[in-house]
């Protein structure tokens, strides 16, 4: 599938490894994160366990436990290999438990960006993820997953207004089950990240990326 590499594949050490990149798929519980990952992944969505830091959200009962603790959460992910580009993209879903707030810093570190899926029947679930990525300066796209049984279809503009999403963050509609739709969302995210990056490089060649307030 990659004829341009010719004989270079003879020796194991001569083959450059692909560049690994990652995109985070986030959103509330049951919003379709695993579905979207499965729709585009070339491997069945895999699950592994990772330790993440948990912060009590205030209502729950970590009373007396000051600050943070770590817990093991299930993390699902998928993979897309681009032979021509010598690149392999990993999509990681953020853990969907809604009782605790996880700090995803480790997971998000080095990510190209994040897709925040929104279910219009449960808009408040997306506040946390959107705020998190905004605050970190991670390029993000808000994708409204159109559930077939949703009573009403909201326009992206309505969703933007309801969630008070800043003007520079793209808001799109999608069907998380549909590979074409899911890839289109990823393309929107990468375009947005490219714009973000080009602007950052134009503004200054001296300031490190991610350092802006």
């Amino acid at each position: 599938m990659s004829p341009d590499r010719g004989g270079a594949t003879e020796s194991g050490t001569g083959v450059p490894a692909p560049s690994p990149v990652k995109i985070i798929v986030s959103g509330g519980f049951g919003v379709g994160k695993t579905t979207m990952i499965g729709a585009v992944s070339e491997i069945g969505p895999l699950i592994t366990e990772e330790r993440l830091t948990v912060v009590s959200d205030g209502i729950d009962s970590l009373t007396g436990v000051e600050g943070k603790t770590t817990t093991t959460v299930a993390l699902d992910f998928g993979r897309l290999t681009f032979d021509q580009q010598q690149m392999v993209l990993y999509l990681f879903g953020t853990p969907g438990q809604d009782r605790f707030w996880f700090t995803w810093d480790d997971l998000t570190y080095g990510a190209v960006g994040a897709v925040v899926l929104v279910d219009t029947r449960r808009l408040p679930d997306s506040f946390g993820p959107i705020g998190y990525f905004e605050q970190r300066g991670t390029p993000l796209v808000v994708a409204v997953n159109e559930f077939a049984d949703a009573p009403h279809r909201y326009t992206p503009a309505e969703v933007r207004q309801a969630l008070d999403i800043p003007g520079h963050v793209p808001v799109v509609r999608c069907d998380a089950r549909d590979p074409r739709s899911a890839v289109t969302v990823l393309l929107t995210l990468v375009d947005h990240a490219l714009t973000h990056q080009r602007r950052a490089e134009q503004q200054s060649h001296c300031i490190a990326p991610g350092a802006s307030a």
Binding site: G12, T13, P16, A17, P18, S19, P20, V21, K22, V40, I43, L46, I47, T48, E49, E50, R51, T72, L75, F77, R79, L80, F82, Q84, Q85, Q86, M87, V88, L89, Y90, F92, L107, Y109, G110, V112, P179, R180, V183, T184, L186, L187, V190, D191, A193, L194, Q197, R198, E201, P209
Partner: protein, 131 residues
């Protein structure tokens, strides 16, 4: 869970245990941190001469997984059915003994803008594939 936790050397009897019943700390010998720093998407590949004798079944399987193509830490963890942290310790030992190496990308894509552009063209190609 007493038996497997005390095994320190390779013992064929190990194979008779159901892997799911072996606690991660038994596989890592009680260690909680890997020597080599790795992230979820760090890719590893097997050295061509890597031999998998005299190591535990998780290590042997990890090396096999990395033979045909570089694999990420996340994927190896998922396929071994081990937590990421325990997997990193297993992989770290395999790096130390020369069976695995961290697979560094070629010089083609170096800065972030190039990475994004390559990713974009990859996704575009995928979009026409699924059309």
């Amino acid at each position: 869970m007493t038996g497997p936790a005390f095994l320190v050397e390779w013992d064929p009897a190990w194979e008779t245990y159901d892997a799911e019943e072996v606690r991660p700390y038994a596989i890592t010998g009680g260690r909680t941190r890997p020597q080599h720093s790795m992230r979820l998407v760090t890719l590893l590949k097997a050295e061509e001469t890597a031999r998998v004798q005299g190591v535990g079944p998780e290590s042997a399987r990890a090396v096999e997984l990395c033979r045909d193509q570089p694999r990420s830490v996340a994927e190896i963890a998922a396929r071994l059915g081990l937590p990421v942290q325990a997997t990193k310790i297993v992989l770290s030992d395999l790096i130390d003994c020369g069976a695995l190496v961290i697979a560094l990308p070629g010089p083609g894509v170096s800065d972030h803008l190039q990475v994004l552009e390559a990713l974009r063209s990859g996704l575009e190609a995928r979009l026409s594939d699924v059309a």
